[in-house]
Symmetry: C2
Subunit: 243 residues, 2 copies
DNA sequence: CGGACACGAATTAGTCATACTTAATTGGGG
DNA sequence: CCCCAATTAAGTATGACTAATTCGTGTCCG
């Protein structure tokens, strides 16, 4: 490949491995609804369209199939499945949807999920957090305070993400902990896409400090309540931005 | 292949497609900790060990890689990743873990997740459920009442699962709705594995009726509270059974 | 004499082309 | 109306080749 311009279609192609590149092109296309449910793709067609071997096309299809984005049947082809079938918890699928036309719906689902999970995680964290985690929470809450004014949103975001990650991890529940990446994506999306220029609301910052305090004092109820307010604020914010 | 007995190793082999069979053998082995994190598999070795072609072995590895169960690197091989990396929300991974030695931990994680999600889902359902869904809830709650006595656990389970599925679906949140299968797996596991012979507690049945009533009356707070009690009972039950 | 760097050999995943098998659909003939 | 055969596209197998990465070795410099 002498990089003569061919193949610069729609994929950023930052992935390495042909199958990964194909996946990075097909996945977003499907989750964006570019191929409506019921659309039939043929591996051979995919192979020729993307200029890869059938082997590579098949591997990409296999992965899409494991995400329940498509279904592969003999004599029929690779059928795109309806969104209800998709593995909406797959981090890859979440990423694709957040990057595409489905962004609004995905953000809303995730925010509702956060509103369910994070308060409970905060209560568990109050019961189970290690001293190091307590210290980390305080540190990041203070970091949020310090960066909450004067257009330091990027630094604020770092502390915000770290704070929520720590809470989720401190809950000692592997499934909660796994949502750290998702929360990070949501928070990053808010900062980078929606309200880039307004400083965070002081009340929100205070609430994070409250959570950190409550966890340190092992006050599960208070930690849960404060976190619930945080997530409710996030939902309200979403309603304002995308009604 | 003259089916002369070779290949009847450890896989139930109910799956169709060689790669699916390989996956159904490798996946559970990995999630069960049979291959500790850091273990290196080579695709060629897998191919010969399972008597399939490298093509098939590679496709299975691709899927495992998309679940973050393994990582494939050139000149190294296919490395098993530590559990923290696994996509613990992947329904396949959940199924494998529920079937293997990790069952206890998985059940506990899922029950905690339920305790976070289902109450919120019940509140949303009270706000958003369609008349048909309200009717379905009542129907299944009554079904639970009718089957709660006299060793009809299988029928009871059907209504229980349908009830929780309906609540999750009625919340109008795609991510909540997707947990229907997970809840079904947890409930089925409890019935089939833990307390096969004791009738469900009457209080639990009443609580389901309460949820159905509250949803029908659009009383979000009451629906949430009742559901919260249900999930707290489930956690308590888990503590009794597996301390 | 010892260490660091560079180069090359070995290893293993990745890619490709091709030939063949299997299952499901479709349509024609009994 | 049912059954069978032709067709189609996925599934499997194989062999050859590419490419990246690690590791060992050897040389050059300090």
């Amino acid at each position: 490949m002498t990089s003569q311009g061919a193949g610069r279609e729609e994929t950023p192609a930052r992935e390495r491995g042909l199958h990964a590149r194909l996946l990075a092109s097909l996945g977003p296309s499907i989750t964006a609804g570019e191929y409506p449910p019921g659309t039939v793709l043929r591996t051979e067609e995919l192979a020729s369209r993307y200029e890869v071997s059938r082997t590579v096309a098949r591997e990409a299809v296999r992965v899409l199939e494991s995400m329940h984005l498509v279904e592969s049947r003999r004599r029929v082809g690779v059928t795109v499945l309806p969104p209800e079938e998709w593995d909406v918890y797959d981090p890859q699928v979440i990423t694709w949807r957040l990057a595409g036309t489905d962004r609004g719906r995905q953000l809303r689902s995730l925010t509702v999920l956060r509103s369910a999970v994070e308060p409970v995680a905060a209560r568990l964290a109050a019961e189970l957090a290690t001293p190091e985690e307590c210290a980390g929470l305080t540190e990041h809450a203070l970091g949020m305070v310090a960066t909450s004014r004067g257009q330091q949103l990027e630094n604020y975001l770092v502390h915000d993400v770290a704070f929520h990650r720590t809470v989720l991890r401190a809950s000692r529940n592997e499934m909660f902990a796994r949502l750290g990446d998702v929360v990070a994506a949501v928070l990053a999306g808010r900062t980078h896409h929606d309200v880039m220029f307004t400083d965070p609301r002081p009340e929100a910052v205070t609430l994070h400090v409250n959570v950190a305090e409550a966890v340190r004092e092992r006050d599960g109820a208070r930690a849960e309540a404060a976190m619930r307010t945080i997530t409710e604020d996030a939902m309200a914010e979403l309603d304002v931005l995308a009604p």
